[in-house]
């Protein structure tokens, strides 16, 4: 075994990785080689002294305590910041919901009739302008259609109820003429149907194609309450 190989074994010995066979070879070599024996002794002394050089941190208890305090303070501050962030996000989310709920045209849980919507229970006065379909386009499609259908349903029920309460004759038995009950009921019904079509046309992104679409466009009629003059001219 050469001195170079022995030097490697000495390092392995200091690393605590020397195998049993290697230990025997090392002992045998250093027993006959004073230079390698000196190297081995010197390196062991060096390693032992280096180990003893450890600076004892106990000499700085105040500094160590300060480190603990700084760490825990920093951790608490992080936690507070995290809580503040969560709270800010919650407030922001609340504000966003508030803005969305009050935004014109924003969907609402219960559709609210837009300004100018006629009270369908009341009879429109002769010559009174009917609501424009544009008043309804601020609602979403589903809301607008639902509102119109509900209103129409309620109107039919209430008109029927009023007619029964007033002992009015059936629809066919009444002579058509301006100012009669059934004329106004019928006109209101027509207006509501028209509004429904207008709302659907304006809100729906695409027009349905095919025979249904052409049939629908053909069946479209001008609004009955467009102007009071038109009505008077009919």
């Amino acid at each position: 075994m050469t001195c170079t190989e022995v030097e490697a074994l000495i390092h392995k010995e200091l690393d605590g990785e020397l195998l049993a066979g290697e230990a025997d070879a090392l002992r045998e070599h250093v027993g006959t080689c004073p230079r390698c024996a000196g190297l081995r002794t010197g390196l062991h002394k060096l390693a032992a002294t280096a180990r003893g050089l450890a600076v004892s941190p106990t000499s700085t208890p105040d500094r160590a305590r300060r480190v603990v305090e700084r760490v825990t303070r920093s951790l608490r501050r992080r936690r507070q910041l995290r809580l503040a962030l969560v709270a800010s996000l919650a407030v922001a989310a609340g504000l966003l919901l508030l803005v969305l709920s009050t935004w014109p045209g924003a969907p609402t849980a219960k559709p609210v009739p837009p300004v100018g919507t006629p009270n369908l229970v009341q009879r429109p006065a002769t010559g009174q302008r009917a609501p424009s379909p544009a008043d309804f386009v601020s609602l979403s499609l589903d809301e607008g259609l639902t509102w119109v259908q509900d209103a129409w349903q309620r109107t039919q029920e209430e008109v029927t109820g009023l007619a029964q309460a007033a002992s009015l004759p059936e629809e066919g038995a009444v002579s058509e003429g301006e100012g009669s009950w059934w004329e106004e009921v019928s006109a209101t019904g027509d207006a509501l149907r028209e509004i429904t079509r207008e709302v659907s046309d304006r809100i729906l992104p695409t027009e349905p194609t095919g025979p249904q679409a052409s049939q629908r466009s053909q069946s479209r009629r001008p609004p009955l309450y467009e102007t009071s003059d038109e009505q008077q001219n009919v």
């Binding site: 390698c36 280096a50 480190v67 920093s74």
Partner: protein, 225 residues
Amino acid sequence: MCGEGRGRFEGASGPGACRPAGRRPDQKETPTDAQLAVVSRTGDLAAFEELVTRYQRRVFGLCYRLLGRYHDAEDASQEALLRAYRSLSLYDPTRPFDRWLLTIAANCCVSMLRRRRPRTVAVAEETAEAGAREAGAANVARSPGPAEEAESREFAQAVAKAIAGLEDAFRLPLVLFHQEEMRYEDIAQALRLPLGTVKSRVHRARAQLYDQLTRAGFLKEGSQR
């Protein structure tokens, strides 16, 4: 049964997680490092504070030896403890906590050394002298004679100075291995170096120190090459 009657530290595994047989129920059990680490994961600052109290001296000592400045050592040890807290989810409770923590601390020191300007000899010697004083004092306790006392102190000072004069690439693995008594695998992880490189650097650092101290007359000449 181990799982019965355990409270705050019931989530931890490893030695010490259960109450040892024979201990009275009213006797207060000291939680193990692994138990404290597992509880700390849930955000229990008191548990983590206990771990910090146990290891802050070792962490600070390691940082001081590697960095050589009290102020930097404070910063690095604080950073190491914070990093450890944030990385608790990665800690394997079956492994020794101190090794894991010291690896993080060494890694913090390496990062700080990379950011820092080239180390001056004066700063390095500050650590060396402090270490040599303590080593000399420790050796004195073992050495009865005044001549041996002086020789031991002088040799310790020479070793400390020689270590401080090494390049960081060699000094760090040597300090971690011989002074912190860390395993090669942990040093490799902390320094982000291959295992073979770490071993090679420690060996070369020893050889350099031996050459230097031999030339200075502190060691008898032997064959290095």
